[in-house]
């Protein structure tokens, strides 16, 4: 695991998280399995999931930045970003992608949530 330390990308990621309660800044695109994990196992709405992500990072939680090596995605994204924390006592893994064009401009970055599951 490699903590996100790049200042520009960190600012971009946290800026998108801070806008969690505005439509479109955190954008889930989940398959059925991930959706069922959120709506059945965790028992929360997508907006509540966004709040948990925001709250976790706001309280110092680690954003894990990983180089994107999967060939089907690596031509589109340099990195993906993982959050790992407990929601309703369930250890939850959230895989995200950061969408922004450097340099960081406030309210421009978006986060794409692409997978949510347990460990």
């Amino acid at each position: 695991m490699a903590r996100l330390v790049d200042q520009d990308r960190f600012a971009a990621y946290t800026n998108a998280l801070n806008n969690w309660d505005f439509k479109g800044y955190i954008h889930p695109t989940l398959n059925k399995q991930a959706n069922d994990f959120v709506r059945v196992k965790l028992g929360i709405t997508f907006d509540q999931l966004k709040w948990h992500m925001y709250n976790y990072v706001q309280n110092g939680g680690e954003i894990d930045e990983q180089p994107e090596r999967r060939p089907e995605w690596s031509h589109l994204y340099n990195f993906h970003y993982d959050l790992r924390f407990y929601i309703n006592n369930i250890h939850t893994y959230i895989e995200t992608r950061l969408i922004y064009t450097p340099p960081f401009v406030p309210d421009e970055p978006r986060i794409l949530v692409v997978n949510v599951h347990d460990r």
Binding site: H27, L30, T101
Partner: protein
Amino acid sequence: MTQERTPTVNSPFPWPCPSCASTNVIVSQLEYNADVRHDGRLYSFTVPHLTIPVCQSCGELIFTDDVDLQINDALRRHLTLLTPTQIRTALDRLDITQKELADRLDIAEATISRWLNNIQIQSRSLDKLLRLFFAFPCVRQALPKGEMDPTLGTIDIPDDTPEAIERCLDSPVKSSRYCGTPSKGPAWNVAADQYSEADKVVRRCHSTWSVN
């Protein structure tokens, strides 16, 4: 190599599929059998016309914010829960602020804000409390700001007769401490189905109310 690109958010269809990566996801409408855990229980219900992105290559359904909102709406219909619009309308009708409602029901103001902004769905028990509170002046009077009567619910009211209950339910006249003051708003101007549901609950619980 650029830092990031934006293939999906706010981009037109077709999107790339998060499962098979083919750029073949378009919006479809289908009947969807939803499973949702709410308030500690698992509910299964059908969303007859769910508008949802579907990968035309692998058949994967892609759940987005808009899909989640449709499922939330269907869950509310399935459980007959008040919608955010209905809660907001009731607050406006009774001229009650979110803060006042929070104070009187001992609910965090942030929770009420989340209900109104469609972020969180109220539990069934709190939904019933909201309906009673919005429908009946005597309930609002029994749940004042600040200190609550410590005897409320612990002893029977003296005039717990069918006639007294009728007076409370049918017109806000001075029949008892909790049913005596007409509300400032048109409290009885509620939807018939809402009144009927709340009416049943009030009739069941009325005998436990107290007046010192």
